[in-house]
């Protein structure tokens, strides 16, 4: 009977279940979506029970697949959105909607903590140089302490997104160190008492912190019944999605470049060790696996920019997708391809939910610049894809500049990697070879690797990479287009420095406008 591993990921828009063989072949995958709530400007929330319900749906779909049905499940590996916080009471009940990674409600608290500890916070605090943003756990805890003390008074535990799935699967509360970014120390796993004091949160609210490949528990009878899985299967604790993705990309030596083209896009390069003195603001430099450090940044609205554009302006494609047997995204790719490189002089700054790297500015916002009346929807579509590619180049070059290493090849994965057109635009914009992987969703591979390590299929990460990661296709950059883009990129890089003071002014001027929602006379 063929063996398989189950990878479960809690994403921003859906939960994904994937069945992989121990050699990294994808047998089946399924997603089940859930809504995101934006009840106030800057707030982004979700209901954790939606995650569990979606997980049930997705897992059942995977196990119904003929390739999976007859196999033997060996282990489960988890991944989930980073800096997403779930608060449960002693009975395991969710006390408030989860606060998602994109949520910037804690901007003031982040500034307050930055004032106390500095930003990035010193290494002795969090075990690495980590910027004090509105999404790190300390800022969130301080916000809760200030604005929702009643929630905290009922709380028994604060856990990450995938930890909630682990809890529902096994009945046991745990977390891992990557899920406590910006609260616990990455090296020691402990919470610094100064940080605990500053946030006012009881350190007892943070459950045991496991290594990602450690077993969090075994699938309970109840969960097994709900999911249609055998009980007693080991569940690896897992890690945050961006890191799981790095595992699945196979980052196992210095000088490798990668682009995780997810809702947010994680872009970076590996080096032998983190640069001394910490990275500049907006970038992360962290020990990853033995002998490999990752230096990376995040462009906050990667696929999210395309998703936003598709929802706002892709009505026709969305309507046609079903009958044409494709997705709205691929139809918009086709539309974008009718506009030339440079979108006829239209530039998009993709800072739709602020930007993390490399400019690090939660107040930044999106810009279309250079609009002419002759510009069409095709030009706008192309500009959005190019704008994200510019951001990828911006983050990549910033990461490389502090490592001194240049990555000739970028391993691209996740949702955005499904677009050949977008991959080629990125190759042309960055001037690098873009390589896609056999399994687009590298996060699934990473979680499956953790599952394989947890159940003893393999003993080292190197072994897992060699066995489970495979390149599918490489795209070479086209030099003529690269020149066009480099010209535009120079202008792109000037937009944020020129406009950054205006973004918060604009937000302040237009928030809490008293007659919101009032219909004006017709």
């Amino acid at each position: 009977m063929a063996e398989w591993l189950l990878a479960l990921d809690v994403g921003t828009t859906s939960c994904k279940a994937a069945a992989l063989t121990p050699t990294g072949q994808l047998l089946a995958s399924a997603v089940a979506g859930y809504p995101v709530q934006r009840p106030m400007p800057g707030w982004v929330e979700q209901n954790p029970d939606d995650w569990w319900n979606a997980a049930r749906t997705a897992v059942r779909r995977v196990t119904e697949d003929p390739a999976v049905r007859t196999g033997r499940l060996c282990a489960v590996g988890l991944s989930g959105m980073a800096t997403t916080h779930v608060i449960v009471d002693s009975a395991g009940r969710v006390l408030r909607p989860a606060i998602l990674w994109q949520d910037i409600r804690a901007v003031e608290e982040a500034a307050e903590l930055a004032g106390t500890f500095g930003s990035p916070a010193p290494e002795d605090l969090f075990g690495a140089s980590i910027p004090m943003t509105a999404s790190v756990q300390a800022s969130r805890m301080l916000w809760l302490a200030k604005h929702e003390p009643e929630t905290l008074s009922l709380a028994a535990a604060i856990i990450g997104s995938k930890d909630y799935l682990a809890y529902r699967l096994t009945g046991e509360l745990s977390t891992d160190i990557t899920s406590c970014l910006g609260l616990a120390n990455l090296k020691t796993g402990e919470i610094h008492r100064k940080v605990a004091a500053a946030t006012g949160v009881d350190p007892g609210l943070f459950p045991r912190r496991l290594a990602p490949r450690e077993v969090a528990g075994e699938v309970s009878r109840q969960a097994a019944g709900e999911l249609g899985l055998p009980h007693g299967i080991p569940v690896a604790s897992g890690m945050i999605d961006s890191w799981c993705n790095m595992l699945g990309v196979g980052l196992d030596r210095p000088g490798m470049g990668w682009d995780t083209a997810g809702t947010a896009e994680v872009v970076g390069v590996t080096s032998a060790r983190p640069p001394s003195g910490g990275p500049p603001k907006g970038l992360s430099a962290l020990p990853f696996v033995t002998g490999v450090a990752v230096v990376y940044g995040v462009t906050q609205s990667g696929c999210d920019s395309f998703e936003w554009f598709t929802q706002a302006f892709g009505e026709a494609e969305t309507a046609q997708a079903g009958s044409r047997g494709t997705t709205a995204y691929r139809l918009l790719d086709e539309l974008a391809a009718t506009s030339p490189p440079g979108a006829r002089g239209l530039l998009f700054l993709p800072y739709l939910s602020g930007e993390r790297s490399p400019v690090f500015d939660p107040h930044a916002a999106g810009v279309f610049m250079g609009i002419r009346r002759e510009h069409t929807r095709a030009d706008f579509t192309r500009a959005v894809l190019e704008g994200v590619a510019f951001s990828v180049r911006h983050v990549l070059e910033a990461s490389e500049s502090i490592t001194g290493l240049t990555a000739d090849r970028i391993l691209v994965s996740s949702g955005g990697a499904k677009s050949c057109f977008w991959n080629q635009v990125k190759a042309d914009v960055t001037g690098r070879v873009f390589a896609t992987l056999a399994v687009t969703d590298a996060g699934s591979v990473g979680a499956a690797m953790l599952a394989a390590l947890a159940c003893g299929h393999m003993s080292t990460y190197g072994e897992a990479v060699a066995t489970m990661v495979h390149v599918r296709e490489t795209l070479d950059p086209r030099s003529a287009d690269h020149e066009v883009y480099t010209d535009l990129f120079d202008t792109y890089k000037l937009l944020h420095p020129r406009l950054k003071e205006l973004f918060p002014r604009l937000r302040r001027a237009t928030e809490n406008v008293p007659d919101r929602g009032r219909k004006e006379p017709r």
């Binding site: 934006r38 400007p41 994109q102 609205s301 999210d304 936003w308 706002a312 302006f313 030339p340 490189p341 440079g342 006829r344 002089g345 239209l346 530039l347 739709l352 939910s353 916002a365 999106g366 810009v367 279309f368 610049m369 250079g370 609009i371 002419r372 009346r373 002759e374 510009h375 069409t376 929807r377 706008f380 003529a480 287009d481 020149e483 066009v484 010209d487 202008t491 000037l494 937009l495 020129r498 406009l499 205006l502 973004f503 002014r505 604009l506 937000r507 302040r508 001027a509 237009t510 928030e511 406008v513 008293p514 007659d515 919101r516 929602g517 009032r518 219909k519 004006e520 006379p521 017709r522």
Partner: protein, 496 residues
């Protein structure tokens, strides 16, 4: 008793026949082409104008007794440049006021006569609109045409000459040419010297309502008018339109929300502003300080065509009306075709600032309406900073039909805004009215009769304070991006 007005516009000729109460009896339109031989060039064939004038005149006169027409007037774009040979025939196509070819020649002229001197005497600056750089271009690039040139004039003067044989220049062609000393009311010799223009190439200057001649026998045959019908000097198209809009008193401003945006302000003396243009009003005793925004209603149309084909403006308005002033943090610069006044920056570009994941198309639509209103406010600020307070705002044309846009405009300006009904017949109506005054059919005061104040919109106090800041950001955004726009090239040259 009737009067006839004909307007030779950019894309069409229009004719209007008025009865003795200045009411429209008949209207006609005849399209023609703008010739773009090269990017940035704008030429037209005067023969097209004449054909259009003849066709539309015949159409409105059909079934009428031509002897009832007491006077005729023609309006047109200003200052077009028509080169005439010794027989009064055009030597080449007309070079239009928005033709941008004479870039080197503008520099040349600047070097010969400092802009400050030019401005003080003529109210013009060395820009693409004035005549001497275009003449210099002809001298350099088309010496044969220059050699044959006997006389120069503008669009409606040329047509009026063809209709009546009159040889003259209407006052606003003179004023906008950059060659007319408005203080001394004479051609400005130092400017003519720059291009070695013989004074004989210019004709006597007449005001719009002056009768300059009578319809000739030949023109009568072509047009269907009676030979001997009196012909007035005619009018610059935008001034005739200002008249048609009822702009009749010092301190009044008309905001025209057409495809482009026009700002017209009446003032009782020659007080030019560098950022804007100044013309003689057709109404004696007044001048019109005016501006033109490259886009206004055309952006609304563009947005609908690109993103909401088939949706009505009313539905777009409805969705945008539920979004608060400030569009939840968006600011839009409407410079999609560059900008004319008050920036005079053909390389400026459209920009949307402040986008977030929660913005919808309705937000961007609202931001367009707000951005165009900001561009109007910019004109008001330039004017008021120069000591010209606006006493009353009249909003008209397509955009004025939108209650939402009226509300936004009133709040952006922080002033009460009246909107006008009627007046849409525009330039052709205005110049027919001028002809009627010249023929003694009615006094100037009757100009308001055909326009009606359809409503008054008050600013919303909360919105006013939001717009105060978003307008400041609008201005600041341009200042910060101004030097980057020229880099946003349409076609990138790909080096092999």
């Amino acid at each position: 008793m009737m009067t006839l007005g004909v307007d030779a516009g950019t894309t069409a000729c229009k004719a209007v026949l008025l009865d003795d109460h200045a009411r429209i009896v008949a209207e006609a339109e005849h399209p023609h082409d703008l010739v773009n031989l090269h990017p940035g060039w704008a030429e037209e064939d005067p023969e097209d104008w004449w054909r259009g004038a003849v066709a539309t005149a015949r159409q409105v006169l059909a079934g009428q007794d031509p002897s009832g027409v007491r006077a005729v007037g023609i309006s047109g774009m200003v200052p077009a440049l028509v080169l005439l040979d010794g027989n009064g025939n055009p030597i080449r196509r007309s070079i239009q006021q928005n033709d941008a070819r004479a870039v080197d020649e503008i520099r040349f002229c600047k070097g010969r006569l400092p802009e400050d001197d030019l401005f003080r005497r003529t109210g013009a600056t060395w820009n693409q609109q004035v005549i001497p750089p275009k003449l210099q271009w002809i001298r350099r690039h088309e010496p044969e045409a220059w050699r044959k040139t006997h006389r120069i004039c503008g669009s409606y003067e040329h047509l009026t000459q063809r209709l009546s044989g009159a040889i003259y220049t209407e006052a606003n062609w003179a004023l906008e040419s950059g060659m007319w000393d408005a203080l001394e009311e004479t051609w400005l010799a130092p400017v003519l010297d720059i291009v070695d223009l013989p004074p004989g190439a210019l004709s006597p200057v007449r005001r719009a309502h002056e009768i300059v001649g009578e319809v000739t026998g030949r023109a009568a045959q072509e047009t269907g008018l009676r030979a001997g019908t009196r012909v007035v000097a005619g009018s610059a198209d935008h001034i005739a339109a200002a008249l048609a809009a009822g702009l009749a008193a010092e301190g009044e401003a008309v905001l025209k929300f057409g495809g482009a945006g026009d700002f017209l302000y009446a003032v009782d003396g020659f007080r030019p502003l560098r950022e804007m243009f100044i013309d003689y009003h057709d109404l004696p005793g007044l001048f019109v300080i005016n501006g033109c925004m490259a886009t206004s209603g055309s952006l609304v149309k563009w947005f609908r065509d690109q993103f909401h084909a088939g949706v009505s403006y009313a539905d777009l308005d409805l969705a945008a009306a539920s979004i608060p002033p400030g569009s939840d943090g968006l600011v839009l610069l409407p410079y999609f075709l560059g900008e004319k006044t008050p920036l005079h920056d053909p390389e400026a570009r459209g920009t949307v600032l402040g986008l977030t994941l929660s913005h919808t198309p309705a937000h961007i639509y609202r931001a367009i309406l707000e951005g165009v209103a900001f561009a109007f406010r910019h004109h008001v600020e330039v004017l008021e900073a120069a000591g010209h307070p606006v006493a009353r705002f009249y909003m008209m044309d397509g955009g004025a039909r939108s209650a939402l846009w009226r509300q936004i405009t009133a709040s952006v300006l922080g002033r009460e805004v009246c909107h006008l009904e009627g007046g849409h017949a525009g330039s052709a109506y205005g110049v027919a009215f001028v002809a009627g005054v010249a023929a003694g059919l009615w006094p100037w005061e009757r100009v308001r009769d055909q326009v009606r104040i359809a409503g008054v919109t008050q600013p919303d106090a909360a919105a006013v304070s939001v717009y105060a800041e978003t307008y400041a950001i609008y201005r600041e955004t341009y200042r910060r991006l101004q030097d980057l726009y020229p880099k946003m090239r349409r076609e990138h040259v790909v080096r092999a």
